[in-house]
Amino acid sequence: MTILKTTNLGRSFGGLKAVDKFEIYLDERELVGLIGPNGAGKTTAFNMLTGVYVPSYGEIQFCGESIVGKKPYEITQKGIGRTFQNIRLFKDLSVIDNVKIAYHQNVKYGVFSGIIKSKKYKIEEEEITNKSLELLSIFGLDTKHNELARNLPYGEQRRLEIARALATKPKLLLLDEPAAGMNPQETHKLMELIRWIRDKFDITILLIEHDMSLVMNVCERIYVLDYGKIIAHGNPEEIKTNPKVIEAYLGEEVSPNVKSK
């Protein structure tokens, strides 16, 4: 079943078309990649899908509903979660607080209950704490739950961001360059983690990446973006040998068969 479909989606900034005629579809439980040279418009596309940017034109259908023009928090509540290219953790808050905030949209007790510390509040707070610790333990971060997010090593910060996004209980997870700055071992672990997340949480994943080994090994389908337009679409084998893709990358002196870091 298709859970996401975009039609003729585009975004202009002034006279510049950052993304144009962007049409993708995602079926349930798929692991799809979005690649392209730097500045191709990948993050802009993500920003449109999550409501951070309002599209200049076009349509986005998520689970049968149009989400164009909806606020980011509404879209998150509908089931799209994401991480950011330049990690946007709540750096001065603790690891567990980062996750707890992501659970907030599902909290049932009201402001008044919180103020008088009613039974409802106490029960739910304990639930939130337990769920957060559980989630953190999956990512190996539960022992550091009181650490400030800024004090975590880079790789763990990236994992925390993914954990936090998962706490919003998404049906679709958007990962923006999750392997950025990672060494080969960390990248390999991340590959397994991504596959495992898709299986365990039963979600669809769309990821932006520059690291070709990760993309080729993990993604079942790939879209290639260049100068804001999709220039290729297919499985890893097809993309690897697609002349348009090679040209787009060679223009940057990088061939798609090699890790482009």
């Binding site: 900034f13 993050t43 920003n47 951070v52 940017y53 950011f84």
Partner: protein, 292 residues
């Protein structure tokens, strides 16, 4: 509103414009609302006062001295209080500016007393034609302000320093990498902005014939509104914003023979709210996007 009120409004507006220019240039270059700017205007008036009464100088020399001293003052403020906070959270710089503003007001009161002082006026000639009186001191304000604004435009557009100012406003790091001395450029900006405010102070002193330590508060805030109205960071914007504000205020005071004159002060704040809600970047302002 009749032509007379228009003349009054334009005179008032010129002063707002002079002060607003300082705000807009400083905001453009270091993204700081220099709350202390209104006090520079006040100190300019006081310096002009002492230049005329104490040193026996005539108007224009006093004006020059006030502008020069305040230029130095502006540079010192920047170096001592704002420069250390250039990379600190914005709250810190804003609070420091507020602190400086209070400091200047109260030090002036402490040493010079809170009572208003009588600013000597040169002889005022009035020209009447067609039911309109134009006083020579209004012409003085308008004329001086115009000359200064033209001078400023020249400096900003045609000189190397002006180019440096525009570059640093646009992208400080890039300007630095291009070899521009960012610190000096910022100091220069403060110097010019302060000099203009000081000129405004002296002009207002001779117009109303009175100065007092709190005279900078409201005009300071209103000039800031003018800068926002015109588009903060835009020099022509500050000039336009100042004019509009001056005329609007004169207009409100004139309604039904002064019935709403106590609401005069609220006019600028009402304009501020409207602008911030409708078009926060102001009339000539540019949109700056945050990269996500």
């Amino acid at each position: 509103m009749d032509f007379q009120q228009l003349i009054n409004g334009i005179s008032l507006g010129s002063v707002y414009a002079l002060i607003a220019l300082g705000y807009t240039m400083v905001y453009g270059i270091i993204r700081l609302i220099n709350f202390a700017h209104g006090e520079v205007y006040m100190l300019g008036a006081f310096i002009g006062f002492y230049a005329i009464t104490g040193l026996g100088l005539s108007f224009f020399p006093a004006l020059i001295i006030a502008m020069a001293v305040c230029a130095l003052l502006g540079v010192s403020i920047e170096r001592l209080a704002y420069k250390p906070l250039r990379n600190a959270p914005r709250v810190a710089a804003l609070m420091t500016a507020v602190g400086l503003s209070l400091l200047f007001q109260n030090v002036t009161i402490y040493f010079l007393g809170a009572k208003p002082k009588s600013f000597p006026r040169s002889n005022v000639i009035t020209w009447d034609f067609m039911n309109v009186s134009i006083r020579s001191n209004q012409v003085l304000i308008l004329g001086t302000a115009l000359v200064l604004m033209v001078l400023l435009r020249f400096i900003v557009q045609k000189t190397k320093m002006g180019k440096a100012m525009r570059a640093v406003s646009f992208d400080r790091d890039a300007a630095m990498l291009m070899g521009i001395n960012v610190d000096n450029t910022i100091s220069f900006t403060f110097a010019i902005g302060s000099a203009l405010a000081a000129a405004g102070g002296v002009l207002v002193g001779q117009y109303y014939g009175m100065i007092q330590p709190f005279m900078g508060m409201l005009p300071g805030l209103k000039a800031f509104v003018a800068a926002v109205l015109g588009g903060i960071g835009s020099i022509p914007g500050a000039m336009i914003g100042g004019m509009i504000l001056g005329v609007a205020e004169a207009g409100v005071s004139a309604i039904r023979g002064g019935q709403f004159s106590t609401y005069r002060d609220a006019v600028s704040f009402a304009i501020l709210i409207i602008i911030l809600i409708v078009k926060p970047t102001g009339i000539l302002g540019k949109n700056v996007r945050e990269k996500v």
